[in-house]
């Protein structure tokens, strides 16, 4: 077994007094790719937002350890600096803030946290340029307001651009493949595969097996009603495709 990166123990959490996560256990080791599949409303996005520290959720019981540190007592920006990255199912638009300014601030905050010198705008532009090319994104996206008026697929690409820049240890991709055309899925996955830092891991939340052609999962979990009900390997995905969630015992 690989060294444990993330460990959830009997996690129970709610929003507005409604419990959504119902005793969830999950262990993720270094260098692993985990897939979480589950019906709509089963709590997949909720889980990812709780991991990232969204303030609207209340933890009722259980624990979350990230590299043996108590994740739940860290602020969202600290979790980010520690290496947690969430690619959002619905990336939000921010008016008046250019993508470039946003990326540079985020990037330099991480450098500060690591005790590295900040990059000046020119140096940062060079790095960003390389990433943009990898994702086949046009320069124009840097100078537009953050996600404002981006198409669904462009927003997703922009999430991956951020991921590549921040070099996280654990990436949660919440339906990164929804709304992406076939080429875009391939480009994004290549970007991820070629740029994940050493020993990092992925959690892929998805409804479709296509993305798994490119990102080969080591573990497959099925989530229902706020907990992991079954864990297996890629064969589990094939079973699901054939029988649906209702017939998973």
């Amino acid at each position: 077994m690989n060294k444990i990166l993330l460990e959830l123990n009997k996690l129970e959490a709610s929003i507005e007094k409604k419990q959504i996560i119902n005793g969830l256990d999950l262990k993720i080791g270094e260098n692993e790719i985990h897939v979480i599949m589950g019906p709509n409303g089963s709590g997949k996005s909720t889980l990812s937002k709780i991991l990232a520290g969204h303030p609207a959720y209340t933890i009722n019981s259980g624990s979350v350890l990230f590299e043996n540190k108590d994740l739940l007592c860290l602020a969202p920006e600290e979790r980010s600096h520690e290496g947690l990255f969430l690619a959002f199912q619905y990336p939000i638009e921010i008016a008046g803030v250019t993508n470039y300014d946003f990326l540079r601030i985020a990037y330099n905050e991480k450098r500060k946290y690591l005790g590295q010198p900040e990059l000046d705008p020119l140096q940062f532009m060079e790095i960003t340029q390389i990433m943009l090319n990898k994702l086949k994104m046009r320069n124009e996206f840097l100078h537009r307001n953050l996600n404002e008026g981006f198409s669904g697929g462009e927003k997703k690409r922009n999430e991956i651009l951020q991921m590549l820049l921040l070099e996280p240890k654990l990436v949660i991709l919440d339906e990164i493949d929804s709304g992406l055309d076939i080429d875009a899925i391939r480009i994004i996955c290549e970007g991820i595969n070629n740029n994940m830092i050493k020993n990092s891991s992925l959690i892929i939340i998805t409804h479709y097996p296509r993305i798994l052609q490119y990102l080969k999962p080591t573990h497959v979990h099925i989530m229902m009603a706020g907990k992991i009900v079954k864990t297996g390997n890629i064969e589990l995905v094939e079973q699901l495709e054939a029988y649906g969630y209702e017939n998973i015992e």
């Binding site: 937002k49 520290g53 303030p55 946003f102």
Partner: protein, 485 residues
């Protein structure tokens, strides 16, 4: 049960005020008049400054009007009563003789301006900006005078202008804001002691940006400065105004007038970054800022544009306006007003369309934090003769915190049927989802709020000249620090 513990509990807590970094005072020898106001004080000012007769009459007329006018109460402001008998109407740094150059200025005062980032030393000054520095009631010095004179531009303190160009002053002073315009305008007209004067002759594009820096230093003296800018036919000028004051626990009065006159095809762009001391986080002290600013587009196709970033003062009462007389003339008003703690702002504009095919544009961004009160008040008036005129107004408010208040009072008054007036208004709160997105990427909550607010204000900040835009961005972030979380 444990709440997700995090510092970004987006609930807005008590506002921690960023210390005001311009709050120091300068100790200098000065000459102050006895407190209180009467005709003798006015005569004393006139004598002291050796002013011509017309000005004495102007001042006395204003004083009489002031006595007949009541303190305005229509604004959405709670004002501690001001005792006009407790104010000294004249305070000047003591000096032996007339200053001939900056070297003769009290070094203590020069240091004050250095500390404020305003260098009057022509070697070190901002390139491309000529500065007139006003300390309490008196102009301390104007840089770049010679360079400006070459192009025929006059830029000097209004006291000097009264001595050196009395005809121009007599011709224009009080033509835009009359002595009886309002309570504070009358008061200012009676007692104003200094300010800046700019005159741009016909066909001249002013080669430098002109800037006045106002500093209130003295505790018991009011500051009543007067600015007059005249742009002749086909001329153009860019004017910047900055303000700070020391930290005192008493409220201090600042009642200024700015008059702009633009002739045919002339352009005046007037930008302000107002950062007077705003009082402490309990609302003690701070400047009472009652300002009358108005521009007259008298010629065809003239343009006057006001941009203001209002972050200071305990009370701001200010409506930079445009009177559009010339056919095809246009007025603009771009404003950011940020209030925190117990600050109160009632600010906006008046666009008075009198000529045909005149246009105006209003963009106002109000941000209220803490227990502050922030009102936009705007009038768009289109007279019967102002056929085919247009106005577009957009007033956006942003609330940070549940104890602050944002109000909008748009008045629209249209007297013909072929003009178009559009008004848009929004009120928004900080979005938890946006903050979460930014913090997930490692951006701290303070920075995230700053980013969102700067984004909210962007349309206005981009209207500022470069040096001011950077300063304004920094100022906004500074003022917001700790206002959440």
């Amino acid at each position: 049960m444990t709440e997700q513990k995090n510092k970004t509990n987006f609930e807005i807590n008590q506002v921690i005020n960023q210390p005001y970094k311009y709050g120091f005072k300068t100790n200098i020898e000065k000459e102050i008049f006895p407190i209180g106001l009467n005709e003798n004080i006015i005569k004393l000012i006139v004598n002291k400054k050796k002013e011509p007769k017309f000005l004495l009459n102007f001042r006395l007329k204003a004083y009489k009007k002031w006595l007949q006018t009541k303190f305005p109460t229509w604004a959405n402001l709670q004002i501690n009563s001001l005792d006009f008998d407790k104010i000294s109407y004249y305070s000047i740094p003591k000096k032996k003789k007339k200053l001939n150059s900056l070297e003769e200025v009290d070094p203590e005062i020069l240091r004050t301006f250095e500390k404020l980032g305003i260098s009057l030393d022509e070697q070190k000054k901002l390139s491309n900006v000529a500065v007139d520095a006003v300390f309490d009631s008196v102009s301390i010095g104007t840089t770049y005078k010679e360079k400006l004179a070459k192009s025929g531009v006059i830029f000097c303190s209004i006291s000097e202008a009264i001595q050196d160009y009395p005809k121009l002053i007599e011709k224009f002073l009080g033509t835009v804001v009359s002595t009886g315009d309002n309570f504070f305008a009358s008061l200012n007209s009676a007692v104003f002691t200094d300010g800046s004067f700019c005159y741009i002759p016909q066909n001249v594009i002013c080669p430098l940006e002109l800037s006045t820096y106002f500093r209130i230093n003295d505790k018991d003296s009011g500051q009543f400065e007067r600015t007059l800018i005249v742009a002749e036919k086909n001329s153009s000028v860019n004017y910047l105004e900055g303000c700070t004051a020391p930290q005192y626990s008493e409220n201090q009065l600042h009642a200024a007038i700015v008059e702009l006159v633009a002739f045919e095809n002339a352009n005046i762009k007037y930008s302000t970054v107002q950062n007077w001391y705003s009082g402490d986080n309990k609302g003690i002290g701070g400047i009472y800022n009652f300002v009358t600013k108005r521009g007259l587009c008298i010629g065809k196709n003239a343009n006057i544009s006001w941009t203001q970033v209002e972050t200071g003062s305990s009370i701001t009462w200010k409506y930079p306006s445009c009177v559009l007389v010339g056919e095809l003339s246009s007025g603009e008003f771009y404003s950011i007003a940020l209030t925190n703690n117990y600050q109160q702002a009632d600010t906006g504009t008046k666009m008075i369309h009198l000529g045909e095919k005149t246009t105006s544009k209003i963009i106002s961004k109000g941000i209220s934090c803490g227990n502050s009160k922030n009102s936009y008040r705007g009038l768009v008036k289109i007279a019967a003769n102002a056929k085919s005129s247009r106005n577009f107004s957009q007033c956006d408010s942003f609330l940070l915190g549940s104890s602050s208040l944002a109000c909008t009072y748009p008045y629209i008054d249209i007297w013909n049927s072929n003009s178009i007036v559009e008004h848009e208004a929004t009120i928004s709160k900080i979005s938890e989802e946006q903050l979460f997105y930014l913090t997930q990427r490692g951006i701290t909550i303070d920075q995230a709020v700053g980013l969102l607010i700067n984004g909210f204000c962007k349309d206005v900040v981009t209207m500022l000249p470069m040096e001011f835009a950077t300063e304004a961005d920094k100022l906004l972030s500074l003022k917001l620090e700790g206002s959440i979380g």
